[in-house]
Amino acid sequence: MVSVGPSGELCEKISEISGQNPFLCMQCGTCSASCTGIGVMDLLPRQVVRMVQLGRREALACRSIWVCSSCLACTTRCPRGIDIARLMEALRAINLRRGHEVLSPERIPAALLTEVPQMAVTCAFRKLSA
């Protein structure tokens, strides 16, 4: 698991990278209800935000941040005006900047790689590899 020092530091770092105030979240769950990747997430987006508020490192180590498709449905609907997709990106960025990545070229089936539009390849590597 990636370590970022005491719990307050994690929250501060995430606020700095995302430009968002996670403490505005009132845990309504609109983000979770709108989420594209929810079916394969370990923590609901609402729970990820709660972990960030609490400075818990589960937020950095969960699968949810890596299966987010940055579709911005949560961002568009958050009644507290939090750009939740930016919080997710900050959690990925902290991991990636320490060399922790989830996508490597050899993991992608060759049959898929020759078919998929290259925008998917560029985008996926920018989001998921260090």
Binding site: G37, T76, A124
Partner: protein
């Protein structure tokens, strides 16, 4: 009318049908697209980390090079349009972004270029009434699901494209062609996007929901402006994972436009689809 045009990488490879049909259809309507010289990839992902300016440099350079040509820059891929529009918005509204990006560009670009999508050109320059007069009625009665996906409409404040929850520009466009847009409650749902390479289950399950919703509302084809939405929804069915019978052809809106204008079908890129739309459209 001539307008500068940024095709983007995928339109030169996997999404040639989108490029060719966009150029041909707009040309038939009196709009000539002039490709920008020396363009690069837009970056594909708008950086959501505030401190990541390097991810905006390519788009900033494209926007700046277009500023030397004309006020507007046409781009049709939803990813490209999203990135160009948001980077331009940052340059215009964020002094730090403007300063840092211009340090890279060695220019004084201030956000003068206006990225425009062909749907906007069809609505505001051609006009849907004029388009109605040009469409030949070949597709009359065809039931179409208009699929926007994520990047065209979100985030609404920066994209300023249409209502983020219930956009209607594509339905207005479809109606002008004489086809019948169906009610489609998944029109702004995400197809799973680049997760096709990482969390395939997301794309499979979301894709099936989107296709099933379109079919349940009577759609015979689905239209989009995104090469990745097109691929995910079409490829899924090509693998026999679509669960919608008959399979639903997934078209670019410009291919539907080209067909309605009775342009030669060979130039519209139908041959690369997994679900062949030709029997239905040209049959």
């Amino acid at each position: 009318m001539k307008l500068p045009y940024f095709p983007g990488c995928t339109l030169y490879t996997r999404a040639r049908g989108l490029d060719h049909s966009t150029r041909a259809a707009l040309a038939a309507l009196g709009i000539e697209l002039e490709e920008l010289p020396n363009w690069t990839c837009c970056g594909t992902a708008f950086p959501l980390a505030q401190d990541s300016y390097i991810g905006m440099v390519a788009a900033a350079r494209i926007l700046d090079s277009a500023a030397q040509h004309n006020g507007r820059l046409v781009t049709v891929c939803s990813f490209c349009y999203h990135v160009l529009k948001r980077v331009n918005h940052s340059i215009k509204n964020n002094a730090e972004a403007r300063r840092k990006l211009n340090d890279y560009l060695e220019q004084g670009y201030g956000g003068e270029t206006v990225p425009v999508h062909p749907l906007e050109i069809l609505k505001h320059d051609v006009g849907f009434e004029a388009l109605r007069a040009r469409a030949r009625g070949r597709l009359k009665g065809l039931k179409v699901a208009c699929y926007y996906g994520c990047l065209l409409v979100r985030p609404a404040a920066e994209m300023a494209f249409d209502d983020p929850e219930n956009p209607t520009i594509m339905e207005e466009f479809a109606a002008a062609l004489g086809v019948e847009p169906v009610h489609f409650p998944y029109k702004t749902a995400c197809c799973g996007s680049y997760q096709v390479l990482n969390a395939y289950d997301v794309v499979a399950s979301r894709g099936r929901e989107i296709l099933a919703a379109a079919a349940a509302h009577g759609a015979q084809v689905l239209i989009t402006s995104c090469p990745l939405c097109q691929f995910n929804l079409d490829w899924l069915q090509g693998r026999g994972e679509g669960t919608v019978l008959p399979a639903l052809p997934v078209l670019y809106f410009t291919q539907l436009l080209g067909t309605a204008l009775e342009l030669p079908a060979e130039g519209l890129g139908f041959e690369s689809h997994y679900v062949d739309p030709r029997p239905l459209l040209l049959g």
